[in-house]
Symmetry: C2
Subunit: 300 residues, 2 copies
């Protein structure tokens, strides 16, 4: 059961108290696809420019990630982001961002991906998310991420998207902005009224919260004593969560909760090193081991 | 098995988005003793001034709280605190504080309390905490709280205290201030090196963290959709935790974890209403019910 993801693929420059890494691999779809590929085959849809370094494409090799939907667009430039965590490891300050190819038309979905039943719409313009979803007639489970920019500037498109998806993943600040509610449980319930069956609020180092019609549950983050680079933690969380959900094929309380815990654990590998290094060297066995340990630590 | 607590007893004025309550009952020892009394008999040691309103003393009636150590000091004034949560429900801004009687000598420990085996030294000057502890020769389990002020101004006394106690409870900002470490797990490990067997870091709405030689575990806060007044949440947490620990008489991983969960649940009653109202109307049955629900929500 393949999981289609569309989102950004980019070149990041990241500053953290542990150092600076210029021109490393980044982007929401990159972290998501790596994280989800531990669980289920991933179909990647995204676009880069012709300046894209060769090792960006190498990063997908040897993984269960089908890159048939990765378009290298001539005459365009790859998305670039420069962020700093020097002030606060829980929130990046954007030093510079060049949308480049992301400001153009969306990537084309290959014919062979059109039968996808599971889809994750990583953060991008909600009109593009709607467009992508509209092209996939067989979708059984669709989950989207979003960001402050779209909540503020593209609310109509976002509200339409919310009536079409099963789940929304967003961070605490975004949930408050979207609903005007400070209390996150109240905010999540407001989001449910807008359409989705479940809402996951990511709180960075403080864990996550899931609210659905029947469930409200919270999980702390995995207790990490060394956070080197938080970039991609949220996308890795979503990838681990969705990857596991696809293998289960249901949205029961139990599968949702386990999926959140897998997301939590996968993200803990991401933040342990710069860029994709933490996730690249992880194995499914290590993930399962850490999941069992987390599960046992959470039971009392 | 009685649990002795010494700390502040005061009159609070509290402003939250839900309203303002002038001259309500407050103080660390008040919240702590109420919370702990659901589990085990409590011996209260504290001092108020002669201006103390009669209903402050009424608040202890009908509970398993021995007030033989509550001194009403003639010629002195009761401790007063005026705080505001209008800006941030997770952190009070102190509008005004009058130490009054707290700036004088400590309360006298009654003869009948001198055999206490379990003691909680709620936040006060570490020299006074040391003095109290020194007067209790039969202590088997001692846990203390502290605050920024003492970390900054009375570090020597505090460091001496840390070599004499079994556990330290403090909040995230205080743990960072005490150790100079940003990562809370690293900070907690640094505190362990200073003496205590276990450290509990309270993170307010983000839950808590326990680190001991053998254990590291985190718990989220109880998911509350209505927080009316966070005053006393940390002291109620400590009271629930200590009250349960006393009934168990051991510091195994299992008892510590369950104790944290009881603290979490008891605090969730405190924050549901102003001052002591949330805790006053709770029953042990409701606490146990919510604990079971929290336990089940945490298992996956």
């Amino acid at each position: 059961m393949s999981l289609l993801v569309t989102g950004s693929i980019g070149i990041d420059t990241v500053e953290t108290p542990f150092g600076t890494r210029p021109d490393v691999i980044g982007g929401s779809a990159v972290y998501f696809s790596h994280a989800a590929s531990f669980f289920t085959p991933v179909r990647l849809v995204g676009v880069v420019g012709e300046d894209c370094p060769k090792n960006l494409l190498d990063a997908f090799k040897g993984r269960s990630i089908n890159t048939a939907g990765l378009e290298i667009r001539k005459g365009s430039k790859t998305f670039r982001w420069h962020g700093s965590y020097l002030k606060d490891m829980n929130e990046a300050v954007t030093v510079e961002v060049d949308l480049n190819v992301l400001a153009e038309r969306a990537a084309k979905i290959p014919q062979e991906f059109l039968d996808s039943q599971y889809v994750f719409l990583a953060n991008t313009h909600p009109a593009l998310q709607l467009e992508t979803l509209g092209k996939l007639p067989k979708v059984k489970l669709s989950v989207a991420d979003t960001m402050n920019l779209w909540i503020q500037t593209e609310r109509q498109h976002l509200e339409k998207l919310l009536t079409k998806i099963d789940g929304l993943v967003l961070n605490d600040g975004e949930a408050r902005l979207l609903t005007g509610q400070k209390n996150l449980i109240v905010a999540a319930r407001e989001v449910l009224k807008m359409g989705p069956k479940f809402v996951v609020i990511k709180k960075g180092e403080h864990g996550c919260l899931l609210v659905s019609k029947n469930d409200t549950f919270v999980l702390p983050a995995y207790p990490a004593d060394k956070v080197v680079d938080p970039t991609g933690a949220g996308d890795s969380f979503a990838g681990g969560m969705m990857g596991y959900l696809v293998t289960q094929g249901s949205l029961t309380s139990a599968t949702l909760k386990r999926a959140l815990a897998f997301g939590t654990v996968v993200a803990s590998f991401t933040i342990s090193d710069f860029s994709l290094a933490g996730l690249s060297f992880a194995t499914r066995e290590q993930i399962d081991q850490r999941w069992e340990q987390f599960k046992s630590a959470m039971s009392f």
